[in-house]
Symmetry: C2
Amino acid sequence: MVNLKVVAFILSVLLMIEGAFMLMSAPLSLAYGDLDTIPILLAALGTTLIGFILWLIFRKCNKTIGKREGYIIVSLGWIVFSLFGAIPFIVSGQGIPNYTDAFFETISGFTTTGASVLKDIESMSHGLLFWRSLTQWLGGMGIIVLSLVILPVLGIGGMQLFVAEVPGPVPDKLHPRINETAKRLWGIYVIFTLAEVILLWLGGMTLFDAVNHSFTTLATGGYSTRQSSIIDFSPYIQYVITLFMIIAGINFSLSYFAMHLRFNRVWKNEEFRSYLSFIGVFTLVVTLILVFNNREQGLEKSFRDSIFQVVSIMTTTGFATANYIKWASPAIVILVVLMFFGGSAGSTGGSIKIIRVILILKNGFLELKRLIHPNAIVPVRIDREAVHPTVITNVLAFVTVYIMVFVIGVIVISFQGYDLQSSIGAVAATLGNIGPGVGAVGPMENYAHFSVFGKWFLSFLMLIGRLELFTVLVLFSRSFWKN
Amino acid sequence: MVNLKVVAFILSVLLMIEGAFMLMSAPLSLAYGDLDTIPILLAALGTTLIGFILWLIFRKCNKTIGKREGYIIVSLGWIVFSLFGAIPFIVSGQGIPNYTDAFFETISGFTTTGASVLKDIESMSHGLLFWRSLTQWLGGMGIIVLSLVILPVLGIGGMQLFVAEVPGPVPDKLHPRINETAKRLWGIYVIFTLAEVILLWLGGMTLFDAVNHSFTTLATGGYSTRQSSIIDFSPYIQYVITLFMIIAGINFSLSYFAMHLRFNRVWKNEEFRSYLSFIGVFTLVVTLILVFNNREQGLEKSFRDSIFQVVSIMTTTGFATANYIKWASPAIVILVVLMFFGGSAGSTGGSIKIIRVILILKNGFLELKRLIHPNAIVPVRIDREAVHPTVITNVLAFVTVYIMVFVIGVIVISFQGYDLQSSIGAVAATLGNIGPGVGAVGPMENYAHFSVFGKWFLSFLMLIGRLELFTVLVLFSRSFWKN
């Protein structure tokens, strides 16, 4: 039997944590003289209260968390977070008038997707804008991982939860104790965020904008406080954001080693080197395309737009410094392909992830070798070590399932009346947690035009994309619920 | 050391066979009073002569054919067939004036793709039209398989060649002797072709048209003698062609069993049942889309267009009874998705193949079960039997490599100035050996507008698509050429 009481208990704790974070938005609206301080306050207190009541009811439950409880807690945790996180947008009066839109905006935040239904971002209150960015920052490193830091008591079944939430085929632990690992990861995350805030602020951003954009950069989320995203900011600011998007797409464990001057450990990491190589090669190609097709623009601007969009799409952030759907066809096609690459495992980036991409590329090449020497054992090597065949099979299964979900998604969205290009864009951008896509969901467009069904469907894609498919999909399998 | 002499010897034999088939076109041009009888005759005799000279030189070589020789012979065989097969189009004077176009049309024929550069098919001589259809018919069942029938002496290394040419993860043999298997396959192929000729002829087609269309139906090729494909033919003829496209997409071994009244063997075949189910489900869905979006058209016409296009695209034939790129978006998207399904293993259909599609679908679902029971062995079952894990890994590798080649192809074609949709269409339609795609290569368009580079590149995609990637790609691997 699945222990549903412990599920409810953990959810009650998560709700209290969410309420506490929600509370932080209220003083911002107050300080900037927006009119929604009281509604945000009430939403936050209400959320905390519901959490507290649940906690009172379930606090004495049996605290054993098995594999199955782990999957349920993580999946439900993200859904509950989004269901309640939408409330401030609704009650504010300066936010989003209907619940579907508010939920879409919120789950798009927590999953660090950044797909928005807003048509006039600047009209929102400061409290709401801050809450919107905060959802991404919390979702980036993971709400479960966060709770492991705050409440070490959860450490009992923490490993189950950690594995179910942290992206990548093989999660690496910085410390044998899981809450110590979580603490270190969140520590680096906070340091990087502060560093970006300072650099953006020095570049002339307001502190408010600097904080918001730092939150959504490090989370590879992509929510901006401006409708035009990063287009109108200075080149300095665009480069700073590029740098931190690159950092956000790196395995945070490697950043931890780098901070402790263990550079050798960083450099010998093959995923890291491939990640930088991909950025380098695709930036070069896109720069050449832009230079060739738009000669009056100047080399620096072409390079800046290229590296920004390549990094923004590949790390699944989704910021824009250009309306890239107007670019020459090969540049658009390359960006669409990069939507499937994603960040490194253990980063805040979504989509398939670099490690899986290089695994399937290598395995494809080695398949030719296996054809010639059918009896030889030809292992795929990463970091010079043979990868266990089971890992390869899992990765291949993940990638094929990812593509299947993508294809089914495109078919479903096409039934909403969108053409092939827009359907591909919307599904790749939500499933991959990117945000803007191509066609009707380009970087200067938004998701408001989708039907209610379309929005809930895309919300589902964002959720399963963030939790790497299986954590959620397993709940729909019959054998999960059988004893 | 690779035995290149035996490669040259087999190629010499293939050339003589090709010359003999080419010769059959000459009397047709003569009978219809076209002016290119002599040029076609000379092309055929020249091809035979070159083959004969090569045969004289290499006939005394060591006849051992190993694995590597097998791959080289099959890959080169198809290339040489296309290189020489293009000659009639060039020398005719009523054909194709430049060699790139002629080669494209020929390899598109032999690979049963059906992508055409012709803008006025009706102006061609009867000899050329017949040769064009004949390339598809020969390529459908396989030129190597054919040579095994004609020259049993090749049977020495025949199994190597057979495996390298016949599509599907595990080729099934109808007889322990490989040339006996080849003979039976070609026997059924001829019987079906004759049956379709008779049915089309009874439906009012001229004998010439009936033969041409039967050749290209059974080969799932899709070349028509008319620029407008099957649009202007009667509903009866459209249904007959639909029926034979369905037959052509079935494993010919199953047809062999059916002819010997062993229906049990047919029905218990899971790929066959899935194949029919896919056709049924997608036809139903597309019919509903057409009925809903175009109410004045009538149910019968909507059903007929739907089943025709679903079967034509899924079996990779590429005939058209409607300009489907004008259909409602979901119908187009479904057809694009079906471009990746393909026929059954051991059929003349191309693309990924039904058996692989169901293997990756099943494996994806079972991955969820493996997640819950990590220590249990959860095999994928086909026809109620556990599939060996190696086969699964090979299929997963094939599918991921197929997708990689597709993605690289789309990027390359986008550099030729085509938008995302047209690039997807052109690459899916050539790599999958379908012919018409979407966008700029829709069913009422052609491939003439591609650059010389574009045409050779797409020709390469058709070749590796027909030979299921690895047979050709392995020649580019370093370990292939090492001792």
